[in-house]
Symmetry: C2
Subunit: 234 residues, 2 copies
DNA sequence: CGCCGGACTTGATTCCGGTCAAAGCCCGCT
DNA sequence: AGCGGGCTTTGACCGGAATCAAGTCCGGCG
């Protein structure tokens, strides 16, 4: 058990899960931990693509700016998620920390060399990328076809599940307090809505007794079944 | 040059591009060509995931049905595109031919075995999946933030580019006749709009002299720059 | 050649979510 | 505790796309 196991947080969910000890040692030599403050960016769209990373803690977003100026978040990154696009020359999206976050950074070139020498690593990354593609396609369906309330319900359910998986406090139990990693503006950017609409829809869910809020970031799911029904409704 | 090279259409863009002759022979032994009529489906969401395939000709769509009944197309598949999700147990989306199409099918288990034995294959699939993820994320931005006219312009430009790349007749030249692989309904499913809105927006583009239509499927881009400007506009 | 059916277009109206504007509230700071 | 500023809520109004409802056109077939 070398130190890199910690670095990758949850051993069996991380990229490094299947590596032998020699490879783990090599990875730990290549990786560099870095803390990010909330709002701090790791890279911007168009930058030279020089790094890959693993999320150790916190939540980050992947986003693009439209030519006309408003933002669309195309993905959220939780602990054990992978950052970066091997083999590409430039970076496709901004990556910004939503909360305080910590990542384990690898320079892209040596990371690619590690992949060539450890096929398990490449295989892990392939499976992960396929899942991410699937996740992204499911979100396409939300943005293309679902109402504001269904989108919001979907986001809340997704956050709840991801927070529970990464052991960041939440649990699937009813009434558990979840600390939202996003502001209203950031939620609007994910959902393809405006901040006002997000606020109104949260209000409706509260009025219906489906959720309760606590301060700006705190949230409790009181009626999971109702929330799921709203997500599935058109 | 074994027969499989034909199967994969464009050698250097296909999955098999980097395989040695022995592996190519093996691939050709495993693959089975299949023709699909327009409208015919290869698989449905929820099916057991038993196959992978390469698109040889024609255009197919990847789509999901919302619980409430309407369809969202989450991706279009052109010649040399890969179909399937190795390592997954079930199928995530319906796959349906939009035009007459031809695919080269592999059973999933032997395909995965081939991947394990030919790391170039795995590497190719990884790069391809990363590109596809990027494509999907860019489309998220369209569905989340763009108006009907910008979405339509984006789709037309994408179709034009993909048809040109796959040598299916179109060319980037002004006024070239493109045969649209989709009906209005199918365009609406991709764009997250209704058929009426698609029709109206096509009308506007015609009135503005940006495009011209020829029958139901024929289309000419008369002012590429204007079309691109509309795509980039909010 | 004319008919038929499905795809497409066009028009009238409705409604969801955006926009603009004005409070209200949380929370860190002094 | 009091204050200030940014985040959030709430309200009035507007507009773009959906919906509902006729038509019209293309293309295949007898």
């Amino acid at each position: 058990m070398t130190k890199v196991c910690e670095d990758c947080v949850v051993r069996d969910r991380s990229l490094c899960g299947t590596l032998d000890d020699a490879a783990l040692t090599e990875m730990s030599r290549l990786g560099r931990r870095r803390k990010l403050a909330a709002g701090e960016s790791l890279q911007f769209e168009g930058d030279d693509n020089i790094l890959c990373a693993n999320v150790l803690g916190g939540v980050l977003k992947l986003s693009s700016l439209t030519p006309s100026g408003d933002a669309q978040t195309v993905g959220l990154l939780y602990p054990a998620d992978f950052i970066g696009r091997p083999y590409a020359d430039t970076v496709d999206h901004d990556i910004t920390a939503l909360t305080e976050a910590e990542v384990c950074i690898f320079a892209r070139a040596p990371f690619e060399r590690m992949m060539a020498e450890n096929i398990q690593l490449e295989r892990q990354l392939l499976e992960r990328t396929l899942s991410e593609l699937e996740r992204s396609r499911r979100w396409l369906l939300f943005l293309g076809r679902k109402s504001a309330s269904a989108r919001l319900a979907g986001l809340i359910i997704d956050i709840d599940r991801r927070m529970a998986q990464t052991g960041c406090g939440a649990d699937l139990g009813i009434g558990q307090l979840i600390q939202l990693p996003l502001t209203r503006t950031e939620m609007a950017d994910v959902l393809g809505l405006t901040i006002e609409t997000v606020s109104r829809e949260i209000g409706k869910l509260k009025d219906a007794g489906v959720i309760a809020t606590e301060g700006r970031r705190g949230l409790r799911i009181l009626k999971p079944a109702a929330l799921k029904a709203i997500m599935d409704s058109e």
